[in-house]
């Protein structure tokens, strides 16, 4: 359960996030939809506890991210915007490192490592150094290490960025699997099809504020458009520019 209330963030003269309020419930997939530069990544960075909001509160499973980031981080698994790996380590070593940092025991890390490798289909490459991995494999490794501690809240920043069709499908299946396990899944995207295919709930962000929040059907009726993509464009305030 993620609750974000009245969050703001300013960089110099640019107000990246003006007023973002939404919550994401357990057992559902919430999509954070917005075009490039709308404030999605900044919002997720503040949620991760690495960036301090100028105003507002953020809590994850009741733990306040700003005052107690460690507690919040323990119940979160985050695939951030930058997902750099260590080229000289193997996927299993990546998983083990993050497991150790979470204070997990060696046997428990082994169990989780086996489960994640199998779940993500990394068996063939699990003990190879990640230098030279494909984009899809890299994303899977980044996801595996983020989920080593079995977090109840999974946050994915544009998880299908740069993935081919097969990897994108695999990622969608993973997200559905997480929902089935009762996790609270929050992911950001600027791709309409992806959001509509997966999400129980959609939060649309434009110019740093939440402009719509509801089920896909809610959004359609709100804007009076039958096509979700048209609804998104209308909500983002991009229509005027598009017509010109």
């Amino acid at each position: 359960m993620i609750a974000i209330t009245g969050v703001r963030k300013r960089f110099g003269h640019v107000e990246a996030v003006r007023n973002v309020t939404f919550s994401a419930a357990d057992g559902t997939v919430t999509g954070l939809l917005g075009h490039n530069g709308a404030g999605k990544t900044t919002t997720l960075r503040m949620l991760s506890g690495l960036m301090r909001p100028d105003a507002g509160t953020i809590s994850v499973d009741g733990a306040d991210v700003i005052s107690n980031p460690a507690a919040a981080q323990r119940s979160m698994g985050l695939l951030p915007d930058s997902r750099g790996l260590y080229p000289r380590l193997t996927p299993r070593e990546h998983i083990r490192y993050f497991g150790e940092l979470h204070g997990m025991s060696g046997t428990r890390i082994e169990e989780r490592s086996d489960a994640l490798v199998k779940w993500l289909g990394l068996e063939a490459v699990a003990d190879r150094r990640v230098a030279g991995f494909s984009q899809g494999e890299r994303t899977k490794v980044a996801l595996a290490r983020a989920l080593v501690h079995q977090p109840r809240n999974v946050i994915l920043d544009e998880p299908t960025n740069g993935l081919d069709v097969m990897s994108t499908r695999a990622m969608r299946a993973l997200i559905r699997g997480l929902r089935q396990d009762g996790c609270c899944v929050l992911f950001s995207s600027h791709i309409m099809q992806e959001v509509s295919a997966l999400c129980d709930r959609i939060v649309v962000i434009a110019q740093g504020t939440v402009v719509a929040d509801g089920t896909p059907d809610d959004l359609r009726s709100l804007t009076g458009r039958t096509d979700l993509e048209d609804a998104f464009v209308a909500l983002s305030g991009l229509e005027a520019e598009a017509v010109e």
Partner: protein, 392 residues
Amino acid sequence: MTALRQVWAVFRKEILDGSRDRRSIYSLLFSAMISPLLFGLMFTVAAERRKSADEITLPIEGAEYAPSLVNWLEQQSGVTIVPPPADAEKAVASRAEDVVLIIGKDFSKDMARAVPAEVKLVSDVTRDSARPKVARVRGLVAAYSSQTSSLRLIARGVASSVASAVRIDEVEVSSSQQRLATQLSILPLLLVLAALTGGLQLSIDSTAGERERGSLEPLLLNPVPRGALASGKWLAASLFGCCAVLFSMVLTMTVMQRVPWHDLGIRFRVSDPELMTLLALILPLAFFLSAIVMFASTFARSFKEAQSYLGILMLLPMLPGLVSTMYPLSGRQWLAPVPVLGQYALAADVLGGKPPGIGLYVLAGVSVMACAAILVGLTARMLKREAIVFGR
């Protein structure tokens, strides 16, 4: 307790990663090799030169004009008279000969008349390697000259002491240990260099490299205190630095055992505990230097940027070393708590055979570790700054 386990996890990961990084391993090995190679070369060359002065072959032109001088020279130990080259000056200029002695044909006549007899010493002053040999020959001729003049005075019923108004008695106060110290004074500099460069690559890779790869943000998403992260990385780099110092020391000692010390006129004991105490001085410095490098590289967004900062930083530990060659640091024990400078000052005393009290080692070690801890703390604080975490 958890934090300690996290430090251990970071440390192990960085060691594993570093040991697979060819650049890290090469920089460790290379930094360990500098000292033994340099020393081996330096002392072997010095010994060769001294040996060449002790056992000389001396070409003499016009030997037939001064049979008594040539005879006397031949009797001196280590001197072998050989036939002269065709053109003495050309032979020396072309470096075929180090020195040639030319005896004028009036030598015997002048000797008999008791006027200064002339000999020419052909040498090349710009040739460092020939200098001891030239000095030896000059000394020999001077000795013959003063011996002959004494005999002349005695023959005329004058005490030979009349001819020498001032006699110089050279009293050498430095022990042989101290003479060795002047040769070895470069060793602390080389060890400090090893301490700095041994962990350099690992330091950069685990800070600026982490930012460049974009792996810093995912790493910081783990519930780990920044201090634990910084400490683990620092300890890993320090271990590499310490290994470089230890390898360097062991290799240098191995080389030293093969140096012909007795040709240098120095008694050198390899198992010297004083030399071992150098390690106790320099090893804590590896922790300090790794902390500086880590702190500086955390500012850098990329490997290249870090290297440009560190180019300047590399001079820092070398400066006191260079200064000490002009301005001796030995005996300045009040410098002990100053990082790097203190180590050089105490090392100079150790090598000079006047080891400082154990309290000073402890003072220097504690001070250097405290400075390192402050730098690690500052690095940990930097890892909280958004400009560092997200600035790519």
